[in-house]
């Protein structure tokens, strides 16, 4: 890394819905690394709130469940108010690795990009950890995103991203549910933001698999994406 990074200027946004069982273990390494952590509790029905009450993280709670995209945007708006310089999107189920954060930040710090996408298909070896059927669905997702948004990435619906302050402030997510991943691409294109990808590892634990979206949900996402293109 060419320039020194003050981790207090980095805000890690974690949308959480019923992750009380695991959230402390996901947050611990992030806190230890010195990042600002913003947890957006999307009206969880479990004990997420008490699980977090003793941790030095920002805790925001939606009064009603709105969806992952909405929770992400809430966290981004809040982090920008707090003066965040860099923003990381991070999943609450423990499938991302905190050590990958500096890798994602590097192009931002060197001012080569405004937004950096994590990809599980850039490095040989990362790919093998992805279950075969999921790989197929993601390949289809990559294609759909390419056709609809004009941006071709090596991965789709990877929740691990890094944005600089300018990009985070200009992108505004209106898709409350999962279609926000495609929506980000649409806005990156429209706002002419500079983007790039970096390899990140994904951990498919039994827990993250059980929490992950079912393949059928891909059709819901597709529907949301198409509707948005049609009626704005």
């Amino acid at each position: 890394m060419s320039k020194a990074l003050d981790r207090k200027r980095v805000f890690v946004i974690i949308p959480a819905y019923n992750e009380g069982r695991i959230i402390r273990s996901v947050l611990a390494p992030l806190i230890k690394a010195g990042y600002n952590v913003v947890v957006v509790d999307d009206a969880s029905a479990d004990d997420s709130q008490t699980a977090l009450s003793y941790l030095p993280v920002f805790y925001l709670r939606h009064a009603v469940n709105l969806g992952q995209g909405a929770a992400l945007q809430t966290g981004i708006s809040f982090a920008l108010q707090q003066g965040a310089e860099y923003i990381i999107h991070f999943d609450a189920d423990g499938q991302h690795h905190p050590e990958d954060i500096p890798v994602l930040l590097e192009p931002l710090i060197n001012e080569d990009a405004d937004i950096v996408f994590g990809s599980r298909f850039m490095r040989p070896g990362d790919e093998e950890s992805v279950p075969r059927i999921k790989r197929l669905a993601l390949r289809a997702g990559i294609l759909v995103n390419w056709v609809i948004t004009g941006i071709k990435l090596t991965d789709a619906h990877n929740g691990f991203r890094a944005l600089n302050r300018q990009a985070a402030g200009r992108i505004y997510l209106r898709e409350n549910r999962y279609a926000h991943a495609s929506e980000i691409l649409v806005q990156v294109r429209r706002l002419r933001l500079r983007y790039t990808e970096r390899p990140t590892r994904i951990e498919y634990t039994e827990y993250s698999k059980s929490k992950g979206q079912s393949l059928w949900n891909a059709f819901n996402i597709l529907f949301d994406v198409l509707i948005r293109r049609l009626i704005g």
Partner: protein, 112 residues
Amino acid sequence: MNLIQLTLTLISVFIVVLYFAKMRSQLLDRIVVMTLFIASLVTIIRPDLTTTIAHYFGVGRGSDLVFYLMISGLAFLCVVLYIKIRKLEETQTVIVREIAIREASRGQYRER
């Protein structure tokens, strides 16, 4: 006037009265509702008129024409309602987000 005509007339009148009693809407909406109301009354009292109009459009029976128009109308209504619901969702999101940001808290680190 036979029984079905009476029933349909009462339903139409009920819907329009309900609309004007409960809704404060724009002039355009009111004109549309009144037009539909009058059209329905006319077709209830003189059903044969729909057949005349249907022939003009190249449709054999009046009830078929009414059926086609009804399907189109309902489809249109679905789209309008869908857009309205999305707008409502967006408004709700803004409110919920605003509250969440205002009431953000930061825990103190304490080993348990």
